[in-house]
Symmetry: D2
Subunit: 403 residues, 4 copies
C-alpha cells in the first residue's frame, strides 16, 4: 500500500473515535443476538450496517484509497482492528474480516488483472465473500509441507483433488483459494504447493458440512467447513503467482494475518475486561458488598490489565517493525505475539467467566461465545508449542553462529 | 446406609470390573452421539441400557440392598462413580446421577413415609426424574442466605413464590425440591429457609426455559432450567424435615454431593487422559514422528497423571473420613477437594484439546462437551474462591484459638 | 532536568553502545567476584572503574550536564539503566545506584542551597555514599502511614528517635535521609511525616547490624542495615522541603525509582537470558545432544524472551508518559510494571537455574546471587499484592464514577 | 527389614507423638542458629541431643531392632521422616539423614560382613559419618551413564581416578561410597560402573572445597563438596556387591531415597505452613487488620494446604506400594512424587516468604534457608524434566503395546 496516503496521526485519532462510536452504538446492542443466531436471519441488518459504514467512509479501512479504503498502514489498521475486535461482528461489518482480508491482500499483491477484476473487486465492495482452503484433517496443520491435496496441470487447466477442513466461512462464499501440491518433485518441500482460485459453483467442489465446533456448526460467515475437491477442474489462469510459490505466498498472507488476529484478540480482551469490571461493581455478595471488594477479583483485574497492555505494546511494536522491514525480519516477533496474546486472551476470558459466576457459562453474555470460539486461538495459525519452539530455535541459532 | 451390608473388598473389585466393562462396551460407543443430541431421541436406547443395568444387578449402586441397590458405602460408591464418570451418560444409565441422587439421599434420610412412597420409590426405580431448585438469578449462589423465594404457610398449605435458575434437569422431571424462606424472622439467617416438594404439574409452577449454556440449551436430563413459582400451592405435608431446616438439610445434601461430583470429574479426567495418550501416539507431525515424542506433550501427560492421582487420593481420603466421622468433620477436606479437583479437571481437558489440535475444538470428540459443560465445575456448589477462603479461615481460626 | 539538553537519538545510540562495551569489557569479568566478596576488598578496583567511567564521560548519566552528568531524560536513562543492570555492579560504578540516585533526585529538586553544597555535591561526584531510612521492623512497609519514628522539633533542632531496617547501604554511608513523624496531629495521616538529613557520625545514630539476608549480611554498598536513632539531635535546617511533606516527597522519589528498578531488572533478565542460552547450547545430555534440543528448554527460552520484551515495552511506555505528564498521571502504569516485571524477573531467573542444573544453585554463576537478592523485588517498594489491589481499585473507581 | 517386627499402629501413634514432642521442644529452639552456623560450633549440642534421642529409644528409627533401631517399615518411617523434616537438623539428630541413611541401607543389604563391621556398625551408632560420590561436574547428573571416574582393578586393589562434586557432607566424613567405571567394555552402559568404599584418610583422596551454594559453603554435615580421586588405591574387598552392579545398586538406593526426600520436604512444608499462618494472624497492616483477612493470603493458605495434603497422600501411597511390590514396580509413582512434591515445596516456601514481607528474605526465619537450599530439590535425584519425560514415556509405552 502506498505509504504516502496514510492519514496523519491527528486524522487517525478522529477516525478511531468514529469507529469506537459506531461499534458501541450500532454493534454492541446487536452482536450477542447475532452470535446466538441463526446468522443468516441477521444478514439484512448486517448488510444495512455495512451500507452505513460505507456511507460514513469507514468501510474496508485496510484498502488503499483508490480501491475504496482508507489507506491505513499496518500500524494504523491494527488500531482500528482492536476497536472492531470488541464486537464479534466488527470486522465483518467493515469488510476487513478473515479470511477475506487475507485474500484481498494476496490478490492485491499477487493477483493478475483478470483475477483482480473477477475476484478482488467484488470482494472489496463487499458483494461476495471468499474462503481459504489449507488445513487438511489428515495432516497436522502446523507442518504445512505435509499436504495431500493435489492440483495437476492438464493443458490449460488444473485438476484438483483433496480434502480440507476448517475452511472458514466457506458456507455462502463465492470462491476459495486452495493450497494444493502442483510440483510434488520439487527439491524443497517448501516449493511443491501452489495457490489456485476455485469458484464454489464448480461441480468438482463438494461442501460436506459446517463442522460442529464447541457446540454449534454455525452458518454462513460464522462457520468452518469441511470440503472436498473431486476432479475439480479450473483454468490454469486461476493460479496465483507462480507454481510452487504456495508457501511463500502463505507466509506473506500469514504475517499481517497474525497481526490482525492479535489486535482482534486484544479488542476481545478489552470488551471482556469491561464486562468483568461492570460485573465486579454490580454483583453484590452481601448487601452493599460488591465483588469488586474481593482481593482475588482485584488481582484478576490488575493482572488482566497488565497483560492486555503488554500484548498491545508488543503487537504494535511488531506491526511497526513489519511495516518498516518486512514480514521476514519480524518472524521472531510474530511468533512471540502469536503465543503470548493467545494465552492472555484465554486467561482474561476465563477470569471474566469466573467473576460472572453461573451467568458466565450461560449464553446470556458474549463470554461463552468467546470462551468457546477463541479456544482455537492457541491452535490455528500455528499452535503455541510450534511458535515457542520456532522462536527458541531462531534465538539459539544466533548463539551457535556466535561460536 | 447400613454398613453391615457393604460388600467386602473382593466383591467390590469384581463389581468395579463389571462396571468398567459395561461402560466401555455399552456407553463409550454411544455417548458422543447422545451429548450431540437431541437427547430425547436417545431416550429409548438409554431406557434399554437402564433395564440391562438392572438385569445385571448394577442399578442404583448407592441404594441400600433392600431398596434395590448394592448397599455400597460412600467410599465404595465413589469408586463406582469414577468409572461411571468416564461417560457423560454413565450416572444417568445407572440412576445415580445428580440431582436425583441427592434427592434420593435427602428423602431417604429425612422424608416421611408418605413422601418416600410417593416420591422416593419411583425415583429409585428410575420411573421418574426430579430436580432441585435452589440458585436464584438475583443472588450470588455462593451466599445461600440471600434468597427471595418464599413459602408462606397458609393453613395446611404453603404458597410459594420465587424465581430460580440452574435447576438442573427440570425439563421432564416429575417433582422438584425447592428451597424457600418460610421463617423470615428467625434469628439466624441460616434458619429461615425450608425444603418443600413441588410436583411439576402444579399450576403455580412455570417452566421458563432451558438456559442456553455454552452454546446449547439442551433438553430433558441434559439441561438447566429457569423456572418460576407463582402462587404455587402445595400441601404442608410436602415439607421435608422441619421448618427452618433448609440449610442444615442442604449441607447434608451437599457433603456427599461434592464427593460424587469430584469422583465424576476424576472419571472425566481419566477418559480425557486416555484420549490424550491415544492422540499423542497416533498423530504424526512428520512421518514416523508422533506427537508423543515432543517433550511438551510428555510434560502434559506427566503432570496430568500426577494431578489426577493426587485428586483421587484426596477424594477417597475425604470420603473415608466422612463415612467415619460425618460431613461436618470434613468440611475443610470437602472445600479442599472441591477447588483442587475442579482445577485439575479443567487443566487436563485443556491440555487434551491442545494435543488434539483443530480436532480438539470440534464436536467430533467428547473434549468440546466437557470443556464447555464442566467449566461450571469451578463455579457450582461454591466457586473456587469461596471454598479457598472458607478453608483458610477455618485453618486460621485454630491458630487464633491457639493464642 | 532540562529537557533542552537531552541528547538526540543518534547521540544516544552511540552512548548506549559505549555503555554496553564498558559493561561487557570491564564489569562482566569482575562482578561475580565482587558479589562473592568481601565487597570492601574490591573497593580499590571499583574506584578505579569509577574514575575510568568519569574519564570516558559516562559517569552519573542521570545528572544534568552542568552537574557533571549526561543530561539524559527519564526514557534515555532507562535505556542506560537496562545496560548497567546486566551487572550487579553496573549502577554503582556509574554512580547512579539506589539509594543514592533517589537521594540525588530528591536533593536536586527539593534541597536548599546549603543542603546541595553539603550533601548533594559530594554525592554526585561519587565522593560519599548515602542511604534512606524509611521501613520499620514493627510496621508493614506497604502502609507508610504506620510509622513510629519521631522527629520532634526543639528550637532549632529535631530530636529523632526510632528504629529502622532495610536501610540499604547504610554501612559506609555518610548521611541518611530519615522519614520521621514531625506532625503527629495533622488531620491527614499522609501529612504527619517529614524527611530529615542525618549525618551518620551523629552520636544519636546507632548502627545495629547489616541484616543477614538470604545467607549473607554483606557489607558497605552491598548491605541492608538495621539502625536506631536514639535522641539523635540534628539542626532544623536538615529538614527537606516542609514539615509534613514526607509522603509527598517519598512519592516523588518512588515514581522514577520504580522505573529505575524495573529497567535494572530487565537488565538482569537479559544477562540471565544470555546465560540460559549459552548453557542450553553447551550442556550435553548425550554426546552431541545439547539441552537446547529439548522442547521444555525451548519453551522456557521463548517464554522468557516474550516476557522480557513485554516488560521493556511497558516500562519504556510508562517512562515516556511520566516524562510527559508527571508521576501522578502514571500511578496505574507504575503499579502495573512493578508487579509485572518483578514477576518476570523471578521466573526468568528460576528457569535459568533449572537449565543450569546443579551448577545453577552454586555460587559459581551470578544466578544464585540474583535468585536470592532479587526475591525482594516482589516485596520492596510495595509488594505485588498491594500494587495489584491499588491498580484494580483505581480502575474500578472510574467505573463507579461512570454510574 | 523384617516386617514381623514393625510396630502395630497404636505403638506407632505413640512413637510419632514422642517424635513430635522432641522436635518441638528440643530442635525448634535451636535449629535456626545451627543453620546460620558455623555448624561445627554446634556439634557438642547436637551430640548431646543424639545421646538423648538414644536414651529415649528414638534413635535411628529406620534400623531393625537388632541393629539398634525401631524396626519401622517404609511407610512407618515415612511418617517419622515428615516429623523430623520439620527441622533442618531433625534427621541428623536421629541419625537417619541423607546420605548416611542411603549408605546404611546399601551396606545392610549388600555389604559383606567385613564391610558391615568396619563401616556400617559405627555409622549406625552415629560414631562416624559417610558420603556418596556420584555426580560429576563434567556430566549432566540426570544421565548417569556418562561418567568419567574409573576404578581400575589391579590385582587385589582398585586404582580410582576421577572428579566428583555435590558429594554431600564429605567434609568430616570417614568414608565415601564412590561410583566409578570398572567395566568400560560391558555391553550395556548400565553395567559399566561399580560402587567402591573409600576411606577418606586415603592419600589418593583430595578434598577440594565445600562448594559455595546459594550464598554459603557450609561445613561438616551441612555442606556439599567437590573432591578428587587421584590414583587412589583401595582394596578390592571394598567393592560393594559385584562389579558392574553400580547402577542397579544406585536404583535400589534411590528408590527409598526419594520417598525419604519427599517426606522430608512435606515436613518442611508443614513447618513453613505453620510460619505462614502465624505471620498471617499476627502481622497487622492497619490496627486490628491482620494479613489473615486478605483474600490473597487466604488463597495461598488454602492452596498450600491442598497441595501439601495431596503430596502426603501420594508419597504414602507410593511407599505402601514400594513396600509391598518393590522399587521397580513403583517407578512411575516415584517419578510422580519427585516432581510433584518438589514443586509444591518451592511454591509453599515462596508464598510464605511473600507473606512475611521483608522479614521473609532475612535470615531471621528459616524461610531463607529453605528457599535457598531446597531449590535444589527440583534438580537433584533427577530434575523435574527428566522425571516428567520418564513418566510420560512409560505411560505411552503401555498405549503402544496396546496396539
Amino acid at each position: 500500500m502506498n505509504p504516502s496516503q496514510n492519514p496523519p496521526q491527528e486524522t487517525l485519532n478522529v477516525l478511531l473515535e468514529r469507529y469506537r462510536a459506531f461499534v458501541k452504538k450500532e454493534l454492541f446492542p446487536l452482536d450477542l443476538s447475532v452470535v446466538i443466531g441463526p446468522f443468516r436471519s441477521y444478514l439484512p441488518q448486517l448488510q444495512a450496517l455495512r451500507k452505513e459504514a460505507k456511507n460514513l467512509g469507514l468501510f474496508a479501512p485496510h484498502l488503499p484509497k483508490e480501491e475504496g479504503g482508507l489507506g491505513l498502514n499496518l500500524v494504523q489498521f491494527a488500531q482500528v482492528s482492536e476497536i472492531l475486535g470488541q464486537s464479534p461482528i466488527g470486522h465483518y461489518v467493515f469488510n476487513c474480516n478473515a479470511p477475506d482480508i487475507g485474500n484481498m491482500e494476496l490478490l492485491h499483491l499477487f493477483g493478475t488483472e483478470a483475477q483482480k477484476n473477477t475476484w478482488l473487486k467484488p470482494l472489496q465492495e463487499g458483494k461476495i465473500r471468499s474462503c481459504f482452503a489449507m488445513t487438511e484433517p489428515e495432516h497436522a496443520g502446523s507442518n504445512p509441507i505435509n499436504m495431500s491435496t493435489t492440483a495437476t496441470r492438464e493443458g490449460d487447466y488444473y485438476r484438483i483433488n483433496g480434502h480440507k477442513w476448517f475452511t472458514t466461512a466457506a458456507d455462502g462464499a463465492s470462491f476459495t483459494i486452495v493450497m494444493a501440491v502442483t510440483n510434488p518433485d520439487a527439491d524443497s518441500p517448501y516449493q511443491r504447493a501452489s495457490m489456485v482460485i476455485v469458484p464454489l459453483d464448480n461441480p468438482g467442489y463438494r461442501f460436506i458440512r459446517n463442522i460442529p465446533i464447541m457446540g454449534e456448526a454455525g452458518e454462513d460467515y460464522m462457520s468452518h467447513a469441511e470440503i472436498k475437491f473431486e476432479d475439480c477442474i479450473v483454468p490454469a489462469a486461476n493460479l496465483i503467482g507462480s507454481e510452487g510459490a504456495g508457501f511463500a505466498l502463505a507466509q506473506e498472507r500469514l504475517g499481517p494475518g497474525r497481526i490482525h488476529h492479535c489486535m482482534r484478540w486484544i479488542g476481545i480482551c478489552e470488551r471482556v475486561f469491561d464486562l468483568m469490571c461492570r460485573r465486579a461493581i454490580s454483583r453484590e455478595l452481601d448487601l452493599g458488598k460488591p465483588l469488586a471488594e474481593k482481593q482475588t477479583i482485584q488481582n484478576w483485574i490488575a493482572e488482566s490489565r497488565a497483560e492486555i497492555k503488554a500484548s498491545r505494546l508488543m503487537v504494535l511494536d511488531t506491526a511497526e517493525k513489519m511495516q518498516e522491514l518486512g514480514a521476514k525480519a519480524v518472524r521472531e516477533d510474530i511468533s512471540t505475539i502469536k503465543f503470548f496474546v493467545a494465552d492472555v486472551l484465554m486467561k482474561v476470558i476465563d477470569r471474566a467467566i469466573q467473576i460472572h459466576g453461573a451467568l458466565g457459562i450461560t449464553d446470556d453474555t458474549l463470554l461463552s461465545f468467546w470462551y468457546r470460539h477463541e479456544r482455537g486461538a492457541r491452535i490455528y495459525d500455528g499452535p503455541d508449542e510450534v511458535h515457542k519452539s520456532a522462536l527458541a530455535r531462531s534465538i539459539l541459532k544466533s548463539y551457535r553462529n556466535d561460536g
